[in-house]
Structure formats: structure tokens, C-alpha cells
């Protein structure tokens, strides 16, 4: 029996089919609930960052043009990987298993390139003296805010790469179906969505002028 179609006894004793909530599978609904709660988590972090930035007189603005170019390259890679995930899900729906697997792994590759660019950016900032609670430019809270937000996002990207790899391999072996691949895609688009708020607020509002 599909988990999306629960069979229950009707009032007259005749078995009836109860429609799944919102006409989506339970797994997909759970993913949506996770996404909403995670969005609020990121929202709280960004609000905390905004609070600190407002309340601190010597808030540093350390990002050079090279960091902005790197951030845009990361955006390009992440949004492109979202697009490749869409192609993978479409192929899975069309029954083209080979193509779906290929595009899923291309998505994972995009996520890994994003993570490498992110680590490169972090190492560059370490080299300039940025630490979790200290930096040469101003308030030490900058590092705490920056690493908390970008670190949590990076954790999501790495987790997403692992999850999509596991689901794709399971899909290849027949353990998971196209619906599972789509749920993985839903998560991946959310990771992309969060980055759309991180770049303007954490990077672009702190450009060196």
C-alpha cells in the first residue's frame, strides 16, 4: 500500500480511501515542514546578525571586490546546480533513469564546487586575520556572525550532497523512486534559496568602500 493512500473503514463499513493531506506524499509534506522550520532557523540567524550589526559602532566591512566576484561565482554554481536538479527530476518523471542519475550527480558536483569555493573564501579571510571572535578591522562579533551563518549554510550544502548521492544510488538500485529524488531536489532548492539571502546581507552589505 502506498503511504500516500491510507485505507480506512467508512461509516457504512465499506472501505474508503482517504486522500493524502494536500494531495502530496507524507514524505514530501515532512520535507516541506522541515524546510519551513529550517527557514525560520536561518531567519533567526540573519535577524541576530542584523541586531549585532545595528548595535555595533565599529562593525567591519572587509569584503574586497575579489570576495564579491567569488560570492557571485558561488551563486552561479549553486543556482546552476538547482537547475540541473530540475533536469534530473524531469528525466526521472519521464522514466529516463540513466539521464536522471547523470544529472543528479552533476548537481552533487556543483554542490562540491560550491563548498570548495566557500572553503577557499574562508581560508582567504583566515589569512587576513579573521577569527571567530577577533579580526583586525573592528568588532570581533563579525567573525561569529559570519562563520555561524555561512557555516550553517555550508553544512546544509555538504549534507545535501551526501543526501542526493545516497538517494541517487538508491534510485539506481531500485530502492528509491522518482518521488524520493524529487524530495531531495526540494531540499536542494531550499539550500539555494537561503543563499539568496546570505549573499546580499552578509557579503554585499559589508563591502569595503
Amino acid at each position: 500500500m502506498s503511504e500516500a493512500h491510507l485505507t480506512v473503514g467508512g461509516p457504512s463499513g465499506v472501505e474508503t480511501q482517504e486522500a493524502p493531506a494536500f494531495a502530496i506524499s507524507h514524505k514530501k509534506l515532512v520535507m516541506w515542514l522541515f524546510i519551513i522550520s529550517d527557514a525560520i532557523t536561518f531567519g533567526a540567524l540573519l535577524f541576530a546578525y542584523g541586531y549585532l550589526r545595528n548595535a555595533t559602532t565599529d562593525w567591519p566591512r572587509p569584503f574586497e571586490t575579489s570576495s564579491v566576484i567569488n560570492a557571485y561565482a558561488m551563486t552561479f554554481i549553486l543556482v546552476t546546480s538547482s537547475f540541473t536538479m530540475l533536469v534530473a527530476v524531469r528525466a526521472a518523471r519521464a522514466g529516463d533513469k540513466g539521464r536522471a542519475i547523470t544529472w543528479s550527480f552533476i548537481t552533487v558536483l556543483g554542490g562540491l564546487i560550491f563548498a570548495l569555493l566557500h572553503i577557499k573564501e574562508w581560508l582567504s579571510l583566515f589569512g587576513e586575520g579573521l577569527r571567530l571572535f577577533a579580526n583586525p578591522w573592528g568588532s570581533g562579533l563579525f567573525g561569529a556572525a559570519f562563520f555561524s551563518i555561512t557555516g550553517l549554510h555550508l553544512t546544509h550544502v555538504v549534507g545535501g550532497c551526501i543526501a542526493i548521492t545516497v538517494v541517487t544510488l538508491g534510485y539506481k538500485r531500485g530502492r528509491y523512486d522518482q518521488g524520493d529524488l524529487e524530495i531531495g531536489g526540494l531540499y536542494w532548492h531550499f539550500v539555494d534559496l537561503v543563499w539568496m539571502f546570505v549573499v546580499p546581507f552578509v557579503y554585499l552589505l559589508n563591502i569595503k568602500h
Binding site: 494531495a23 531567519g43 533567526a44 535577524f47 545595528n54 548595535a55 557571485y72 539568496m196 546580499p200 552589505l205
Partner: protein
Amino acid sequence: MNSSGHQSSLTMYLLVYVAILVISALQILIAYQNIDAYRIFIRMLLLAIVQAGLAVTFFMHMRSEKRTLALFLLPAAVFVLAMMNMFWYDSFRLLDMRPFAH
């Protein structure tokens, strides 16, 4: 709507993909404008909301799901995020290091 409703055209996805990247580029242009931080912030916030809207509507297929799903999920998130706005006043108070005027 069931899964068959998700098969939107690839061209449309491509357009949304390009639109998201163009908006990101616009945000960079705004960041280098010689205007005050508050105006930069508001413009970036609006553009980020448009980007997020495009991602949720098209990439995450919200437009092809039942409307009740959006009505179930989004107001709760918006409400919580809206409530967080209450502490901005306190952050400005800390900047001046003084209590609110009576």
C-alpha cells in the same frame, strides 16, 4: 496537484534560472551605489524576496501544488519572521547606549 503537474517546460525553468542570476547581478550593482545603507538594505531585501519567490514558485513547484499547502505553510513562517522584527528598536537603543525616552 499530483506529480504530472510538475512537468513545466524546460524553457520556463531556464528563464527563471536566468532571472535569478540577473537579480543577483543587480544586487551587486546596488551594493556599489553611493546611497545610504538603509536604502541599499531595502532594495536588496526586496530583490532577495523576488528571487526566493521565483525559486519557491517554479523550482520548488509550489505553483502546481494545491493552494492549501501554501496556505498551510507560508503564513506560519511569515508570522514567526515578522514577530522577530520587534527587536530592531532594541538594537538601535543599544547603539545609543541609553534607555527609551519616556
